[in-house]
Structures are given as C-alpha cells and as structure tokens.
Symmetry: C2
C-alpha cells in the first residue's frame, strides 16, 4: 500500500471523530464583524492552536496582529523538500436573520449528506479538511514535505491586519506554495481550481436631511426625505442594463478576452444553474456577459443593507432625519479599492442634491487576485484532484474576495492554490449554512495526495 493510501485509510477510519471535532470547532461563535464576540475569536484561535499541537505541529503560537490573533505553526523536517503554507480563517459571518435558521446556528446538525451550522462551509470545515489530511499523513508515516500554517481571524472583515503582518513576518512565512481551501467547487462532481478572485470595497453611505425626525404631514412636500434621496442616489448607480454609472468605473477594468469567454462557456455554471441555486424569479445583469462572467470577470455594486425611519410593525408617519445604506463593490483586475472609493465620492459630489448632506465611509477593502496556474503547486493539486474524482479539475474565476491571496503574491511572492469543498448552494453568509460531507471526505483524500505530489 502506498504512503498516500495508508493515510487515506487512516482518514476514512477516523471520519466520525473528524466530524465530532468540527462540531466542537463550529460551536465557538467567532463572528468577527461584531466586537461583542472578541473573546470568542480568541477562543477559536486557541482551539485551532491546540488542535495543531495535538496532531504534532510545532512552534504553534497565537500572534498579535492589533486585531484578532493569527495562529502560526510549522513542521520543518525536510530541508530539501518544498514548503507548503496552509491558509485558513477561523472567523465566521453573523447569523442574522436568525429566525430563518431551521437548526441552531452554532450547534451543528448532521442531516443526510450535510452538516448544518455557521462556519461549516465558510470555512472551519474546509480548514479542518486540511488539518485532518495533515494528521492522517503524520500518523501513518513520515511527512514528505515541510508545512507552515497561517490561520487568521479577520477574513470576513477584509483581513485588515494581514498586510502589516505579512510585511513583518515575510521571512517566517517563506514558502513555495499556499494551499488555500477557502474557495469552493462548481458542484460535488466537478472538482474546481479557482484562479481568479474579485476584490472588495465596502462602504456606508449616510444621508442627513432635517435636524430631527419630522411629522410627515406637517413637513412632507417641503423637505427632501433623506430615505427618498438615498433611493434616488442608489438607483442612479446602475443604468437600465445593470452597468455601473460611477464616473470612470470601468476605466481600469480588463476587458474579457475571447479566450476567457470560450473557456467560461464550457463551465457547467449556466443561467439554469444560477436560477436553481438562487431561487430568484429571473436572472439580472449586463446582457453582453453570461452569468458566470458577470459574477467572475465583471465588477459589481451591491446594496448590502438599507435602514431609515420606522421599520417596526404598523404605521408611523415620520419623515426620517437620516438614511443609511451599506454598499459594496466587487472588483476585478485592474481596479483598486482606493480608486473605487474616489469614484463613489465623485458620484456623490456630482449627483447628491443640495437638499441633503451626505458622508461616505470606507469600511473595508480587499484586492482582486489572479493566480499563475503554471506552477508546481497547481499541477500537484490538479493531479491530486484528478486521482480522487477521476477527472481533471475545472478552472474558473470566482466572484468572492479573499484578501490574503493577493497579499501573499505581492508581499511574499507565494502563489495560492484556491480549492475547497464549499458548494454554491451551501448558503454561506446566509441562514442554514451547510457543508456537503461526501465532498469534504474527497477533499481530505485529495489533500493527502497533494502533499505526496509536492514531494
């Protein structure tokens, strides 16, 4: 039996325990978007560190970032073999709207092929798949390559302290390749390598009108309603085709090449599959691009939240003093978050009427990334996936944003292999998040093969 197969046998024999450990890990309410959960983030970091130590990783420590800690650890026994950096994040998204969860958000429920809880798919489950693979190889023989671990607690808030951390610890993190399981697959049967990620620029827009809430009868008609002014401004940010109207927004957007159009057309992500996954009444967006290109190769501007006036039950006849929107743009090469911030401010300067005042706050940002697919790491990963699934992986751009990928390229010169068992209908960032267990098991096997392929 090959070393890889011995490790895979171990992994299969330990699946039940792996699930138990994952359930323990997701119990920790490590919501990074809300400062009330600060201690829970430390608890999640401690849990991950303890697990690394338990499976035999060395030099494990929680490192200060100014924000939530980064967990580092390594296994450096093969001076002549390559070093793989394993990335993960232990923070999760908020659970609102809570009332739509059918099972407890932090008390994981296994039902059929799925495990349901916040963080199962994004990405405590994916992180555990790499640790389970590492453990399986370590317990059944000699680890064939060197390993380093970089587990952060700020991915869901834009990895805001990662850049400074990488600059400070570039030597410590020196590696040949980064395994990043925070992406996902097109479907359970279609292993996928993501070579492109969109960037993110997230803003709050505040509109202020009268000095305080007014009686809508006494003043309605003579004062510009800030909620109405907000809708007028947001509505003007797209044209009828779904194209964004911020000034110069597309100037630095790389045109989609004919080759990319052709390759994306081969992917099984069709209008049909988007409709099915989202449950939307119809698709929307720029007509000259397919849905896969709209979500992968084109930038967006989304309303993430709206709040103004009276939102409780019943009728309150208020003319609100203010209105707020959360707006974020997904960015593609060669856009930068700072440039989009300037464009949004410019849009407001050009379009906001004198009847209100406004403020744009930049909340967080993350650069886009394109991975060089002609590297040993990607080849080793592709071969491992082919061994497990019996077919070559698909290559695609993904619409999400993972800040660390571009930072590792730019600061440490390390390319990332973006994979993972997260499926499009896993409800990540939504109620009823879940992870598909058969795909999780396959990824554990694939990671085991990958470590040996890297040797």
């Amino acid at each position: 039996m090959s070393d890889a197969n011995k490790a895979i046998e171990y992994a299969r024999a330990n699946r039940e325990r792996f699930i138990k450990e994952l359930i323990e890990f997701v119990k920790i309410e490590s919501i990074s978007t809300n400062d009330d959960f600060k201690l829970q983030l430390v608890n999640a970091a401690e849990w991950a560190a303890a697990h690394l130590r338990k499976i035999g990783i060395e030099n494990v420590s929680l490192m200060d970032t100014g924000g939530h800690p980064i967990v580092y650890g390594d296994l450096l026994k093969k001076p002549n073999a390559p070093t793989v950096l394993i990335y993960g994040h232990y923070d999760v998204q908020p659970i609102d709207p809570i009332e739509l969860w059918e099972t407890p958000p932090f008390d994981a429920t296994v039902k059929g092929d799925y495990i349901f809880a916040r963080g199962t798919s994004d990405m405590k489950g994916q992180m555990m798949a790499t640790l389970n693979a590492v453990e399986s190889v370590m317990k059944t023989g000699d680890f064939p390559i060197n390993l380093k671990f970089l587990l952060e607690g700020e991915e869901e808030i834009g990895s805001q302290n990662m850049e400074a951390f990488l600059h400070k610890h570039a030597d410590m993190l020196k590696s040949d390749f980064c395994l990043n399981p925070d992406a996902g697959a097109i479907s359970a049967d279609e292993p996928t390598i993501t070579f492109g990620l969109r960037g993110l620029a997230y803003f709050e827009i505040h509109i202020n009108g009268p000095a305080q809430d007014l009686h809508s009868g006494l003043f309605g008609g003579a004062v510009h309603n800030p909620a109405q002014a907000l809708t007028e401004l947001i509505a003007a940010m797209h044209d009828a085709n779904g194209t964004i109207t911020l000034p110069n927004f597309y100037d630095s957007v790389r045109p989609v090449t004919d080759k990319e159009r052709e390759e994306t057309a081969k992917l099984p992500t069709t209008a049909e599959s988007y409709l099915q996954q989202t449950g939307a009444p119809a698709l929307w967006g720029e007509k000259e691009y397919t849905p896969a290109l709209r979500t992968g190769a084109r930038p967006t501007l989304e309303v993430n939240g709206l709040l103004s006036g009276w939102t409780g039950a019943g009728a309150k006849t208020v003319l609100p003093a203010k209105a707020m929107a959360k707006i974020s743009c997904r960015l593609v090469p060669d856009q930068s978050p700072a440039e989009v911030h300037r464009q949004l401010v410019k849009f407001m300067e050009m379009n906001a009427p004198k009847t209100i005042t406004w403020e744009v706050k930049a909340l967080h940002e993350s650069p886009w990334a394109i991975t060089d697919v002609n590297t040993n790491g990607i080849r080793a990963l592709a071969a491992a996936m082919e061994t497990v699934w019996g077919r070559q992986p698909l290559y695609r751009r993904e619409g999400g944003s993972i800040g660390v990928v571009a930072m590792l390229q730019n600061i440490c010169g390390v390319e990332s292999g973006l994979v993972g068992g997260s499926l499009p209908d896993d409800n990540i960032h939504s109620p009823n998040e879940r992870m598909h267990l058969p795909t999780w098991y396959k990824n554990i096997d694939a990671f085991i093969h990958f470590f040996f392929n890297m040797k």
Copy 2:
C-alpha cells in the same frame, strides 16, 4: 367680574395642579402603533374617564370599539343651548429613536417655558387644556352650554374603528359643533384655525428576490438585488421636480385657486420659517407651489421607513433576499385612499421588473377634510382667540391627517373647529416632543371664552 373672567381666574390659580395632572397623564405609555402597549391604552382611557368624572361630567364610560376603547361623557343641562362635542385622543406615537431623547420620554420634564414628554403636544396636553377649561367654568358657575366628549385611542393608527363607532352612535353624538384641539398654531403669537387637513394612505412595499440571502461575491452581478430594485422603484415615484409619478395621481386633486394662493401668501409660514423649523439644508418640492401650499394643498408621497439586509455594525457581504419600505401619501381633495392604493399597485405593475416579486400592503387610511368656516362654532372660536391674543386668528390648511374630522362631517353632519397649542417646533412624532406652556395657558383661557361665546 364676568363669568368668563371668574373661570379664567380659577384656571390661573390652578395652573400648577393642571401641570401635575398632565404629568400623571403622559406617564401612561399609550403607544397605539404597537400591540405590546394594549393595556397601557386601557389605563390611559381609564385615567381620562376618571378625570371627566372628577370634574363633574356625567354618563362617563369606556365604550368598546373592537380596538382601543372610546371614552364618552356628557353634561346636558341646557335644553335650549347648543351642544359642543369635545374631541381628543389619548394615544401617542412610538418613542423611537429612543437614544435621541434628552429627557425621559414618559417622565415629563419642565424646562423654562416648555414641558417635554411624548404626548405633551400631540395631544394629551391639548386634551387637558379643554378639560381644564371645562373644570374652570364648572367650578365657578353654571355651565352655559351642553357638552359631549369623544376621546379615542386610535388616532395615531388611523382611527380605524371610528367610522363604525360613529355610525352606531350617531344619535348619542349629535352636536352642533366639535371642538378639536388636535391641530396647532403657526406660532405662539399667531392664533390659528385650521380649515383643511390632508388625508393619509399608508402602505408597506415588500420586494422579494432570491429564495434566501446570498453571498454577494458568488452571486452579485447575476441576480437583481432586492434592495437595489426597491430603490429603483421608489426613486421612480417622483420626477425631478418632486412631482409624484403614480399613474393618474393628480387626476382628482383640486387645483389650488388664485384666492388660496393669495391667502396662503399672507401667512407667516415662509421658506425661511420652514428652514428654521426643520433644520434641513435646503427646502425641496414642487417649484410652482410655495412651501405652505406644498404641505397643505398638495398631496405627497413619503418614505417613512426602509429596511433590507445587514444594518448592524461593520461589513456583511450579503445580497439580501428581500427589502421593505413604508410609504405613505398625504391626500388632498378629492383624492381617496382606495384610489391611491390602486394607483400604487398599478405603478408597481407597470414598473416592477420580472427579476423580483413584490407585494403592496395597505396599512391604514384617513380621509382629507375641509371645514366650513362660516358656522357659529368657528365664529365663536375666532372671537375667543381674538379676545385672548388681541388679534384675529389666521386660517390655514395643515398637512397632517385627523381621520375623525371628515367622519364627523360625513356621518354626523358636524363641523369641527381645529385649533390647539401645538407649535411647529414641538417635535411631535419625533424625539424630545414638547409643549409650550404659555400657549397652553392661552388656549385654556380661549376655550373658556369659547364656551360662553357659544351660548
């Protein structure tokens, strides 16, 4: 000393006690828009009934309406004298946003010339001014006319059970005139009779898109964001001039006559005074109408509330499954709430894209009213005000809506005298509601004169 002056002397000697009683009354948290406060509404009704009994009003009882009770009482000792119906409402608006109150909302604070608390100005304070005036006349002599009282608990929710109540008890409520102190004055020095009120039609618009909240990175660009769709629809409900675009919206709006333009131009409600009262950076609205006409004689469409997606602290990259707006129209002659409801639905049918689904819920409605100013009641009121202020009252239309006024006209044939000590900067429906005590005292005196003028 005249009978009126004896009563006025009594009222002045009892001001301190009157304030203490008002403080007791506003302590009761009678918020009618929220079912959690149901018992508090009964408490407020009981308090008002007890007070009527205490000052000597007869046949006082709480009457069932299907909703919050109506307090009735009467004093019918003068078979040959006219009967005045005194209207009031003991319900109040919610206190949100609570954090903006500088004093406790239900624990009244007297500061200088003002008393601060929810309900002081709208309208427990105004109601108490009538009861204080009645008490002052009763304690100092023979009451010169007959009185009936109609105190409701559903004004702030559109007097939804009033119409049925009036139909059922039309005989009991038969009167020559209704004194309704739920309007207000242009300023403390400018006694005002309101002869026109706008109607109200209040709606919730619900927009639904994907089956659940989506990850804005994975699906953004291919799915119509319901919050964005909502802003597009609301923005399209006005044109650039502030004119409402619902189909046929102005068909039954009575044009403003030249005479009304002239008379309104004489009022001291100028662009300046609107700016000062609201604190808005600039005024807004239909250019061809003055602010006083925009708020009095023209209909409006206001956004009273907006809610979608993530509204907590920080950045959540969600593409929300749904979005909600509270929208209300103030109506003028000859619009009807039912007609505006149809127009809004028609607008949605014409403008809502196929990429979302929508629903319009009608929450509450109230008809507009125009009072005949050539009646004994209005003349008696005007004379009383002139006696107290030393100047004739101003006549104006007001932008608010008081359902009972049109209902009393249509069902009982009773005209209302709309007056009151509520001033434009009293923050009614807003945090830090207050009432101007010198104006309150003047109104007590004026009501005393009015009762004798009616004889």
